[in-house]
Symmetry: C2
Subunit: 256 residues, 2 copies
């Protein structure tokens, strides 16, 4: 390991976490958050205060297998060793750093992200699944995949997604580009994937809640398009719970 | 619901559980076990003492998605309603009854089982997986799938598996027929499936430990065959931990 302390490096990290028990991604003064835990561990490893920027502001209870965070450091810490060293520092937490690489100066996990992919898992059967208790949303009513797909297709493309937004952003409006959405069944599980340039607050969970209402026959696929056009949150479905949601991948011009 | 109380019925149930926190499947006087919890719930629903028989005696920490248990009852309880009624009784536990059906008098989930299929999950990468902490065994050393497969093939067929047995059974010897074994990689996960008429005590976990030793180059595939022939437990590999193991299916002449 070559000592180059003092040289400022920009680092990107792929992070997995079990969101159960965390008050979301973003740092809060007193509550345990993913960012708070990561900053604590990285500050020890780098021997200076670390502040991270995350690609996705996941809410309390939401999981990630491919969150990306960035930070700067003057430490010469060997990045190939970071996942193993961090796993010792993060023992007792539900967070792991899977990979760490140096990026160009000024790189931001948030601003340079081109798109995010989320997955939502549903257990769709009478009995709950103890093995997926904090990893999937339990829906008893039989979901019809064909109508859910037809409804989901109404959302693809560039639209004002205000109807699927809990709290509108302060800046930048509510137009987003949903580049892909899929609904698939595998046995008792229904899985939805969504990719967009970025997502509004609770957008994935409100889309899922609305498509679940389609799948159980409370809404028609066509009504999903009408809800989108209305831009009224109260016309869309319920907000599906956080524990079925996973931030799976963040896309960049140069993969992390 | 037709009241037929007093008529003895034999019932088979498919059960899922998260083995974390349970002292295995089999009833114990004071420790929490899966059988103990199930019997408590079923005794309430059927309004008489219930004793169950399980197809697989899973050890402490081992999970199941398709365990099968049987019992008899004089209750006329509607079996179609049992999964939902049991899920209320089992709230707070990590157990669910997925399905309940009536079987012929004398049916035993254990004695009539023709075969059992187990799955073993390994996370094979530097960093642990917080989302799979109690659901997969973390192995850091890169595992070579090809040699693990070659080793696994030495075990297929009818053999004396004494070398892969923690505690030999009191009756019936240590010969078993392993009808199928597979080793596959999907991203960071390595999954093993095994199907046999029945399994010896900790047989799956000792086979997995031995094949992990093959995958990381500590044993050759050929040595797996030599270990089998030796019938000496001390020549086989370590016992892989319980939390990666799932009883997935129990096979009968007439499916449950």
């Amino acid at each position: 390991m070559i000592e180059t302390a003092g040289v400022l490096r920009t680092i990107a990290m792929v992070v997995e976490y079990d969101g159960t028990g965390y008050h979301g991604m973003q740092r809060q003064t007193t509550l345990p958050t993913v960012a708070g835990e990561l900053e604590r561990a990285l500050s020890k490893l780098f021997a200076h205060d670390v502040r991270i920027v995350a690609a996705g502001r996941t809410d309390a209870g939401v999981h990630a297998t491919g969150q990306v965070v960035s930070c700067t450091t003057t430490s010469a810490f060997d990045l190939a060793r970071l996942p193993i060293a961090a796993s010792a520092m993060l023992r007792g937490s539900r967070i792991a750093i899977l990979r760490a690489v140096e990026r160009e100066p000024g790189f931001s996990a948030r601003r340079h992200a081109l798109a995010r992919s989320y997955r939502y898992r549903i257990v769709n059967r009478t009995a709950p699944s103890p093995l997926n208790e904090r990893r999937a949303f339990h829906v008893r009513a039989a979901l019809e995949i064909a109508t859910m797909r037809a409804g989901s297709e109404q959302l693809v493309g560039e639209h004002d997604f205000a109807a699927f937004c809990a709290t509108p952003p302060v800046r930048g409006g509510t137009t987003r580009t949903l580049t892909g959405i899929s609904v698939d069944r595998a046995g008792d599980f229904v899985e939805l994937w969504m990719t967009a340039d970025s997502f509004l607050h609770q957008m994935v969970r409100i889309v899922v809640g609305t498509l679940v209402d389609v799948g159980r026959g409370r809404l028609t696929p066509q009504e999903v398009g009408a809800i989108l056009v209305s831009r009224q949150r109260e016309r869309a479905g319920f907000t599906a719970p956080p524990h079925g949601l996973f931030l799976e991948r963040v896309h960049y011009a140069h993969p992390i």
